[in-house]
C-alpha cells in the first residue's frame, strides 16, 4: 500500500505540502480531481495520478475520478460540473494557470457550487519555476472567492479537508492559495480517516445555473450575501488565531502563509514580547477579530510575501475604527513586494522596527568567484538536436518566439533560440504579430503539451491570415518539465487507462496548415533540410519534431535492460574545434587545461547525436567491455 493512503488514524507521516493537500481531499472523500500540471503545484495532481494508476493496475476503483485536463480552464470547468452534480471536486494549478482558468473562475463564483470545490493555486514567489510572481490572493478578492492560506503541510491537509465543508456551507468554491515553500516543503502530518467518495451525483436543473442578464445580476447580489456569510465563518475559523510570544503588551504582528514560520522563529530568537495574529482564512478577513486586534495594539507589523493585501485591508480597518495604530510593512519600506521571505529578511526588518540587534550575521559572499550554474537542456535532449538543425537552416536575424517548457532553456549560449516568452501558447501568437511587423524570418517553438493547452488558437490565426511563419512543435511525447505527465497526445491518461492519442500533425492538418514537416531531430541533416523548406514556403508552415524525452528513454532502457550506449572522443582524431561544446552545447562534454575534450560518462545519456555533428568523425560509441 502507498503511504499516502495509509488508514491508521492519528499516525504521523512525512508529506510534501502538495501531497498533504491530496491527502486532505481523500479524507474529505473527493469525487473528482482535475489539474493541469505546473510547478510548484504538480505533485498534488501527480499524487492523485499515482494512486489511480496503482488502483487501475490492480483492477480496483481508486474511489475518485482524476484527469490531467487539456488546460486549467478545462480542468476548472470539468470539476465545476461535477460540483453541480453534487460531487466534491478539487482543481489544482500553478498561479499563472489561474489566469487561464480565470474566465470560468470569475463567473463560477456568481453561480456558486453545490458539492464542495477546492481550487488550489500555487504561487511561486522568487519565480523559482515561473514567468512571474503574481499573488493569487488578488484573485480571491477579484472573484470574491473565500481564500485559505496554509502555513505547514499539516495545515494544508486540514484546510483542504475542512475546506470542502466550508465550501458546501457557503455554496462557494474555495481558493486554497499555497506558495513554493509550502508546496515543496515536507513536514509531519497527522492522518484522519479516509472518506469513501460517491463517484456519481445527479444534475438538478436550475435556471440560476445559467448566468445571463437577469440571472447574472441576481447572482451577483447572492455572491455578496454569501461573502458576508463567509466573513462570519472567518470570525470563528480555527485557522485565524492569536499566538503569544513572551509577555505581549501592545505590539502585534499580522501574518499569513509561510511567513508565519519566520515570524515565530525570529520573534522567539529576539525575545520579543508580541502577539501574532496568524491568519489562515485571508478572504474575507474576520473584520471584528482584526479590529479588536488593532485596538489592542499601538504598533502593528504586517508580514506577508508579495502583495500588501493584508496590509492594505488592515489600514482600511484602522481608518474605519479611527485607530492611531502605527502600521509597519511594505508601505514603510520594511518589507518588499519582491521575492520570497526567509528568516533573514524578517529578522532584518524586526531589528530595524524594534531597534534590536539582528541575530543573524550579514551574508558574506565567497571571495572566490563561483561560476553560475543555471539549469540546462539535459545531455541527449532532443530539443538541442532540433535547435542545432534550426540554427543551421535559419538566416541571421531570425526571431525565435518560445514558450513555457524545458525548451525555453534553449535561450542559453551557444544555441540562443528563445527571444520572446510571455505565457503558455504565446509563441505562435507572437509569431503572427511579428510576421506583420517585421521582414525578419520567424521560427517559433512550443512543446506538445503546450500545443494542446493553448497553442491551437494561434495556429488557426496563422492559417486564417496566412502569416508567413514557421511554427515548430517539439513533440517529446510528454509534459517533461513538470515531471512527465501525460497529455492528449499520449496513449494513456492520468489514471493509467488507455486513452485516445491525438496526433499533433493530424490536428494541424485539420486546422488547414498546408506545409507540414514531420522530422526526427536526431537526424540532423534531414531536420535542417526540413526547416529550410519550411522557411521557403510562403505562408504558415509547421514542423513537428518528434523524439521522446531522453529522460523517459533512459528510464525505459534501464527498466528493460536495453543498452545505454556510451560515447568517447578519439583524441588522435579530435582537432579541438569545439563544435560539440561551443556550437552544439551538450553539457556532457568538457575540456581540460591542455584543450583536449572529453565526454563525461556519468552525464552522457547516449543519444549519439554528437557523432553526426563532429566535423572530423572523432566521436564513436564505446564497445562494451566484456
Amino acid at each position: 500500500m502507498m503511504e499516502i493512503t495509509n488508514d491508521k488514524i492519528g499516525k504521523k507521516i512525512l508529506l510534501l505540502g502538495n501531497e498533504a493537500i491530496t491527502r486532505g481531499a481523500l479524507e474529505a472523500g473527493v469525487d473528482v480531481a482535475t489539474a493541469y500540471p505546473g510547478t510548484p503545484s504538480s505533485e498534488i495532481a501527480d499524487t492523485f495520478s499515482k494512486i489511480a494508476k496503482q488502483a487501475t493496475k490492480q483492477n480496483k476503483d481508486p474511489g475518485f475520478y482524476f484527469e490531467y485536463s487539456t488546460n486549467e480552464k478545462v480542468a476548472l470547468e470539468v470539476a465545476a460540473a461535477a460540483s453541480f452534480c453534487g460531487l466534491r471536486a478539487l482543481t489544482c494549478m500553478k498561479h499563472v494557470g489561474l489566469n487561464v482558468a480565470s474566465d470560468a473562475f470569475m463567473t463560477y463564483m456568481y453561480v456558486g457550487c453545490k458539492g464542495g470545490h477546492i481550487i488550489v493555486s500555487a504561487d511561486d514567489p522568487y519565480c523559482h519555476s515561473s514567468q512571474n510572481e503574481q499573488d493569487s490572493r488578488y484573485f480571491g478578492l477579484f472573484g470574491s472567492a473565500p481564500t485559505l492560506e496554509p502555513t505547514t503541510p499539516q495545515e494544508a491537509k486540514e484546510m483542504t479537508r475542512t475546506g470542502f465543508e466550508i465550501s458546501e456551507e457557503l455554496k462557494l468554491p474555495i481558493l486554497l492559495r499555497t506558495t513554493t515553500r509550502l508546496s515543496h516543503a515536507k513536514g509531519l502530518v497527522t492522518l484522519n480517516e479516509l472518506q469513501k467518495s460517491r463517484r456519481k451525483g445527479h444534475f438538478e436543473k436550475d435556471m440560476l445555473l445559467r448566468t445571463f442578464l437577469v440571472t447574472a445580476r441576481a447572482k451577483h447580489s447572492v455572491l455578496l450575501e454569501r461573502l458576508g456569510q463567509a466573513e462570519r465563518i472567518s470570525e470563528k475559523s480555527p485557522f485565524n488565531e492569536i499566538i503569544n510570544v513572551g509577555k505581549p503588551e501592545d505590539i502585534g504582528i499580522v501574518t499569513s502563509g509561510v511567513s508565519y514560520n519566520y515570524v515565530k522563529e525570529v520573534a522567539e530568537l529576539l525575545y520579543l514580547n508580541v502577539r501574532i495574529l496568524k491568519l489562515g482564512m485571508t478572504h474575507p478577513l474576520p473584520r471584528k477579530m482584526c479590529e479588536k486586534f488593532i485596538t489592542s495594539c499601538k504598533t502593528l507589523v504586517v508580514v506577508e510575501e508579495l502583495e500588501p493585501i493584508l496590509e492594505n485591508q488592515f489600514k482600511a480597518f484602522a481608518y474605519d475604527i479611527q485607530s492611531d495604530v502605527k502600521i509597519y510593512g511594505k508601505s514603510t519600506g520594511h518589507f518588499s513586494r519582491l521575492y520570497e521571505y526567509n528568516p533573514d529578511i524578517v529578522a532584518e526588518a524586526f531589528s530595524t522596527i524594534f531597534k534590536v540587534k539582528n541575530p543573524f550575521p550579514k551574508q558574506v559572499q565567497p571571495k572566490i568567484k563561483v561560476p553560475s550554474r543555471p539549469p540546462v537542456l539535459c545531455p541527449g535532449c532532443s530539443h538541442r538536436a532540433t535547435y542545432y538543425a534550426v540554427k543551421k537552416a535559419a538566416p541571421k536575424g531570425t526571431v525565435y518566439p518560445s514558450d513555457i517548457g524545458c525548451y525555453i532553456l534553449g535561450k542559453a549560449p551557444p544555441l540562443e533560440v528563445a527571444d520572446l516568452l510571455l505565457c503558455m501558447g504565446s509563441n505562435a501568437g507572437m509569431a503572427c504579430g511579428l510576421a506583420v511587423s517585421t521582414d525578419q524570418k520567424i521560427i517559433s517553438f512550443m512543446g506538445d503539451s503546450t500545443f494542446f493547452h493553448s497553442g491551437i488558437p494561434p495556429v488557426v490565426d496563422a492559417v486564417h491570415h496566412n502569416h508567413d511563419i514557421v511554427i515548430t512543435i517539439l513533440d517529446n511525447r510528454t509534459t517533461a518539465m513538470t515531471g512527465h505527465q501525460p497529455h492528449p497526445g499520449t496513449e494513456f491518461d492520468g489514471m493509467g487507462q488507455p486513452a485516445k492519442l491525438i496526433k499533433v500533425e493530424d490536428v494541424v492538418k485539420g486546422l488547414g496548415v498546408r506545409h507540414i514537416e514531420i522530422v526526427n531531430p536526431n537526424n540532423s541533416k534531414e531536420t535542417t533540410a526540413a526547416f529550410k523548406r519550411a522557411l521557403e514556403y510562403k505562408g504558415p508552415s509547421v514542423v513537428v519534431s518528434k523524439s521522446p524525452c531522453i529522460l523517459l528513454d533512459v528510464q525505459r532502457k534501464r527498466r528493460t535492460g536495453e543498452e545505454i550506449p556510451v560515447y568517447y572522443i578519439d583524441q588522435e582524431k579530435c582537432t579541438q574545434c569545439k563544435t560539440c561544446i561551443s556550437r552544439f552545447g551538450c553539457p556532457a562534454f568538457y575540456y581540460v587545461e591542455d584543450g583536449s575534450i572529453y565526454i563525461d560518462e556519468t552525464q552522457c545519456n547516449g543519444c549519439g547525436n554528437c557523432v553526426e555533428i563532429c566535423p572530423v568523425d572523432a566521436i564513436s560509441k564505446k564497445e562494451e567491455e566484456k
Binding site: K12, L14, T39, P40, S42, E43, H128, S129, T152, R181, H184, A185, K186, G187, L188, Y260, N261, Y262, K264, E265, N342, P343, D344, P359, F360, P361, K362, Q363, V364, Q365, P366, K367, I368, K369, V370, P371, S372, R373, P374, P375, V376, L377, C378, C406, A412, P413, P414, M481, T482, G483, I581, S582, G585, P587, F589, Y590, Y591, D600, T602, Q603
Partner: protein
C-alpha cells in the same frame, strides 16, 4: 525537545541531493523527531545548482538563516562554497572533491576556480571535511550512490539527533532489493571516510 538541527544539502541537479534530503527527512520522522525539509522541483532540477534544507527538533519551518547551519553537505565542491553563507565557524562542511564543471565555464567564459582556493576559503569560514565520495561510490558498485556516501559521512559527525542505524535503515527501505548491498557499502564507506578524517 529544545534542540534544533539545521542542515543544508547542496550539489548539482541529478546528483541525488533531493533524494538525500528526502531520506534524511524520513529517517528523522522514524526517530520520532519533528522535521521540516525544503526541496526544489521543476526547472531547478535540470542540471542546475540544487539547494535543500532539513531542520529537526523545535523548529517552525524549513529555511536555514545565514550563519546558522550545523552542517552543509555537498556533492560538488563549488556548490559547498556557493552555500558558505549558511556556515559559521563551528559549521561542518562535508563535500565531495570531484568537480562537475558547469556549462557556463565551457561556453559562457566563466572560470572554474582552483580547488585548493575553494577548500582554503571554506576552511577559513567553517570546519571542512573533504571526501572522495565518487571513488567510494564507485568502489561500492555505483557512481550514483555518491549521495548515500555523503549521508554516511553526515551520520558520522554526531550532529544528527538520532542514531546512524536509523538513517541506514531508512536508506535500505527506500532502494530496490538488488541495490541494498551497494547502498550499504556506500553509506558505510562515507562513515568511515569521515571518521578517518576526524582521527
Amino acid at each position: 525537545m529544545n534542540r534544533k538541527t539545521s542542515i543544508v544539502l547542496t550539489g548539482v541537479g541529478g546528483q541525488g541531493v533531493i533524494t538525500a534530503a528526502n531520506i534524511l527527512g524520513k529517517a528523522t520522522a522514524k526517530a520520532n523527531i519533528n522535521i521540516y525539509v525544503s526541496e526544489v522541483h521543476g526547472m531547478a532540477q535540470r542540471g542546475g545548482t540544487v539547494n535543500c534544507t532539513a531542520r529537526m527538533g523545535d523548529v517552525s519551518g524549513p529555511l536555514v538563516a545565514t550563519g546558522t547551519a550545523d552542517v552543509i553537505v555537498s556533492t560538488e565542491p563549488i556548490e559547498a562554497l556557493r552555500n558558505i553563507m549558511y556556515a559559521n565557524k563551528k559549521t561542518k562542511v562535508i563535500t565531495d572533491i570531484n568537480p562537475v564543471v558547469p556549462f557556463t565555464v565551457a561556453v559562457g567564459g566563466e572560470e572554474y576556480p582552483n580547488l585548493k582556493d575553494v577548500f582554503r576559503e571554506i576552511q577559513s569560514r567553517a570546519i571542512l571535511y573533504k571526501i572522495d565520495a565518487l571513488k567510494i561510490a564507485k568502489d561500492s558498485g555505483a557512481a550514483i550512490t555518491k549521495n548515500i556516501v555523503i549521508l554516511g559521512a553526515l551520520a558520522a559527525t554526531d550532529v544528527l539527533p538520532f542514531k546512524s542505524d536509523v538513517l541506514l535503515e531508512t536508506i535500505l527501505e527506500n532502494v530496490p532489493a538488488k541495490y541494498k548491498d551497494i547502498n550499504k557499502k556506500a553509506f558505510e564507506g562515507g562513515m568511515k571516510a569521515l571518521k578517518d578524517l576526524r582521527k
